[in-house]
Subunit: 408 residues, 2 copies
Amino acid sequence: MYSTEILTKYADLVLKIGVNLQKNQGLEIACPVENAYIAEIFAKRAYLHGAKIVKIRWSCESVDKINFENASVDALKEVPKWFVDSKNYLVENNFCYIAIDSDDPFAFKDIPAEKLFAVQKAKSKALKKFSDSVMSNGIRWCVVSLPSKGWAEKVFPNDADPQNKLFAEIIKTMRLNSNDPVKEWQAHIFKLESRAEFLNANRFKYLHFTNSLGTDIKVGLADNHKWLSAKELAKDGVGFVANIPTEEVFTAPHKDRIDGIVYSALPLSYNGQVIDEFCFKFRKGKIVEFSAKKGYGTLKELINTDKGTLSLGEVALIGKNSPIAKSQILFYNTLFDENASCHLALGKGYPTTVDNGEKLSVKELKSLGVNDSVEHVDFMIGTPDLNVHGIKEDGSSILIFKDGEWVI
Amino acid sequence: MYSTEILTKYADLVLKIGVNLQKNQGLEIACPVENAYIAEIFAKRAYLHGAKIVKIRWSCESVDKINFENASVDALKEVPKWFVDSKNYLVENNFCYIAIDSDDPFAFKDIPAEKLFAVQKAKSKALKKFSDSVMSNGIRWCVVSLPSKGWAEKVFPNDADPQNKLFAEIIKTMRLNSNDPVKEWQAHIFKLESRAEFLNANRFKYLHFTNSLGTDIKVGLADNHKWLSAKELAKDGVGFVANIPTEEVFTAPHKDRIDGIVYSALPLSYNGQVIDEFCFKFRKGKIVEFSAKKGYGTLKELINTDKGTLSLGEVALIGKNSPIAKSQILFYNTLFDENASCHLALGKGYPTTVDNGEKLSVKELKSLGVNDSVEHVDFMIGTPDLNVHGIKEDGSSILIFKDGEWVI
C-alpha cells in the first residue's frame, strides 16, 4: 500500500530517534495484526541496526471488540500472571519497546462505559509495575501510529482512499518527506529543548491559562519540577524520544495547587469512546465539578477511576503553528491531537518531570506534588486565543504564550 | 476470500466436533496473522456456543523467518518463563486449544538445519510440561489447517488462485460441503471407532508391514496397548477430536521391539525443510542405519534430538481410499499427508494409547514400551501395495491390510 522506501524511513526514524536501539539489545514491537507488514520491515531494519532479538506483541481490535461484546466483566477483568510477567520481562531484560497505534477511535462506542472501565482499571492495576517503569524511563520506548482502515475512515469519511490519505498526513507530521528525517528530528529536538531550558531557568510557581472559551485556571507546578521535551534519558543513560511526532514541552503540575476552570478545546477519544465539550472546575488540585456535552458517562467513570484521576499529572505547551496544529485535522488520536494544542493530563505524573524523580518513591514524589494513579489521559485545552502567563514565587509574571503561540 | 457461510461451518465443526467446547469454558486459538479473519469468526461462534473468554495466540511466519535469518542461536533459544507459563495456564484453567496451521512447508529452507534444530529442541524442552499435558489429553485440543499464500503456492504452483484451490480441497477433506458436517463427522467417527475395536479385540503382539519399496518391518506393540481413533476422552471426561480431518486408527509401538527396514512413501516436511526418499533400519527398537536422498542433514539432526527420536512413538493405519489419499494431492502438511497413508512417528508415544496411560508416570509408560522424547514426528509408509499382517502372541496371523486398504 505504502512504498517500501517510505516505510523503511519510518522504521529507521523510530529505531534511531525513537527508541534509539543499541547494538545487541532486544526489541519488542506491539503491532496490530491488520498492519503486520510493518512488523516485518521493523524486524529487518532492527537487525541492521544490531538488534539481538525482535519480538512482536500482536493485537487485534476486531477480536477485542467481540470479546467486549460477549464475555462477562469478570472474564475480561482477569489478567493472567504470565501476561503481567511478559511485560515486566521487557524491563528486566532492557528491551526497547515500540507501540504501533492504529486504534479505531470509535471501535468500542457500543460497549457500555462501565464495562470498558472496569476492564481497563483491572488491566492498569495489574500492569502498574510495568507502566511505572515505562513512565520513569526504566526502558526506552516509543509510541507511533500507522493507519488502520477503521481509524482512517473516521478521520476522512468522504475520501476514496482514507488509509493512504491519513498516512500521507502522518508522513508530514513525522517529517518523513525530507531527505534525512533523522537529521530533521535532531534539529527539531534541539529547538524544543531550548524552550524547556528557558522555562526551567525561570522557575515558575504556577502557569495561568486564559481564553475566550472561559478557561481561567492557575496550574501550580510541582516542587523541583523540570520541564522536559522530546528527548529523555532512560535509566541506562541512553537518550530516546517517547512519541513521534512530538511538539510538546511538558512538566508536572502540583497535585494540590490547581484552581479555576478549564474547558476542552478538542474531543477526547478514550477507550474507543468519544468525550466532547467538557470542562472541569478545580479547587486545591481536585476536580469539584465537571460537565460534558458528549460522553458524560465515560468521563465520569474516567475521573472516578481512583483518587489520582481527580487531579492532574501533566501540563504541556504546544504552539498553534506546529505542523499538526496547522494541518487542522482532528486525528482522533492523542499522539497527534495532543501535539496540536496545549494540554493537561488527568492521572499519574511522570517521575522524570522532577529532579531525580526516577529515584524517588511514590510517596516522595507525592510530597513534591507529583500525582499518582493507574491512569494518564491527556486532554486538549489550547485554542488560537490562549494566553499563558508564568508566575514566579515573587509574584512577577512573564507572558509565555500569546494567542496560542510561544512568545519566548 | 472464502464465503462466510463455509467459514462458519468450518468454525462450528472445529468447536463442536474438534475441541467440543463446553459452556463457560475458555478458548485459545493459535492463529497466523495472515489469516486473522478466521479468528474473528471463531470468536463469534465460540461465544454462541457458550465460551467464557476467547484468547488468540498470534504467529507470523515471515517475522519468524527474519528472526531465524538474523538472530543468534543463543538469542533464539531463549524461551522466557512467562511464555512457558502462558502455555501451562491453558491446562491449569481447562481451556480448549485450537491450532490453525497455515505453515509454508518451505519457509525455512534457507536456514541451516542445525540452527533450526537447536532452537526447536530448546523450545520443545522448555514446553515439555505443556506438550506432555496435551499428549495425555490434559486439555481438549484440535489442529486444523487454513491456506496461507505461501503454502498454497507450494501445493499448486501453476494455479491462478492457489489459495482458493487449496481451501476447496480442504473443504472436501473436512466434509464441509455436506448440509450437516457435524452429523457427517459423527458417522465417520463411528466407523473409525469400529476398526479400533476390532484391533483391540485381537490383542496383536506385533504388526508386519511389507511392500515393493522394500519395507519389511515388524513393529511390536506396547504392553496394554490400546488402538485409538478420532475421538478421545480428555481428563475432564469430555470427548474431543484432536485433528480435523482425521482418518487414522493408531496405537503405541513397543519402543524396544521394532525390527526390520522401512521406506518412506511420501516426503516429510519438518521445520520448514523437506526430507525425501528416506529409510530406516531398526534393530531392537532403535534406528541403527538410515539414509535420505533429500534433507539428509535435517533427518540426521531430527533422529539425534534425544534418545527417544531414535525409536517410534506411534503406528497408524489409513486406507488408500480415504478422501485425502484419493485426492492424490501432496499437501506438504502432516495433518493431511498423514491421513493419506499408513504412518509411523519418531519420538514420544501418546500415554493415552495404553490402558490408563494418562495416570502413569513416564517411567511406568516406558516399562510398558511407550517411547518418550521432546519430539513427535510422523512419516508416511503406506503405499498402494502395502500389506499388513497382525501377529498374535500364539504366532497366528490375520491380514489387516491388503494392497493399501483395510480388509477387516
